[in-house]
């Protein structure tokens, strides 16, 4: 597997809390994709971070990438119930463009009122 520490995890937090999801990868990559999947739908890209961007923000989302430790994280600030979903990190299998995306096992996040 390309992924080291990330196994399917389940997190349950209360609305308003902050949460961070982590993943590590074994194959060198310059781009990490974060996808979210809602029930009954396919995954959708929520943030993409490149190696020259140690941190990237999009609304309440914040992604980090540390190529030296081959790890990435996704944080959600002040989580809302609508953030309930499964979150995946993914990288390209090879350095060339258009290679397949390899996904981690995902984190199932439940945000309760």
């Amino acid at each position: 597997s390309q992924w080291g520490e990330e196994n399917l995890q389940a997190l349950s937090i209360q609305e308003g809390e902050d949460v961070t999801m982590n993943c590590s990868y074994k194959t060198y990559t310059t781009v990490v994709h974060w996808y979210r999947q809602d029930s009954g739908r396919g995954p959708a890209l929520i943030i993409l971070i490149r190696s020259n961007e140690r941190e990237k923000r999009s609304g309440r989302l914040r992604a980090t990438l540390d190529t030296s430790s081959q790890s990435s994280s996704l944080s959600i600030t002040a989580a809302q119930c609508e953030d309930t979903a499964v979150y995946f990190c993914a990288t390209r299998a090879a350095s060339s463009s258009f290679s397949k995306l390899v996904f981690g096992q995902g984190t199932s996040l439940s945000v309760v009122p």
């Binding site: 739908r41 396919g42 959708a44 890209l45 299998a93 463009s97 258009f98 996904f103 096992q105």
Partner: protein, 112 residues
């Protein structure tokens, strides 16, 4: 833009029957991917096409699975002699470049 369209959304087949899953990628996207998703295995890559040509089928079970892309507007995944372990959600995705991949809603295949 209707996104990636997959049909049918649900399919039930008897053990040993054939199942064909259809995918219509987003117009103009040059890459089409097929993935399989189960609780145990997660999101598994099966195969992908670029400009209709098969590029990587390293995830395809060799004997009963096949995929084709006869034209720019659709791709099919065929499973012969379906087995209960083939039960999964099959996801098709397309991409215009090496960045974002757009997924369809998937086809839930149940083999009974």
């Amino acid at each position: 833009n209707a996104g990636v369209i997959q049909t049918p959304r649900h399919k039930v087949t008897g053990k040993g029957q054939e199942a064909t899953l259809w995918c219509e990628p987003i117009s103009g996207h040059s890459a089409v991917f097929w993935y399989r998703q189960t609780i145990v295995q997660g999101l598994e890559f099966l195969t992908y096409f670029r400009n209709q040509a098969p590029i990587d089928d390293s995830g395809m079970p060799k004997e009963r699975f096949s995929a084709q892309m006869p034209n720019q507007s659709h791709s099919t995944l065929k499973i012969q002699s379906t087995q209960p372990q083939d039960s999964a959600v099959y996801l098709c995705a397309s991409s215009p470049s090496d960045t974002e991949v757009f997924f369809g809603k998937g086809t839930r295949l149940t083999v009974v």
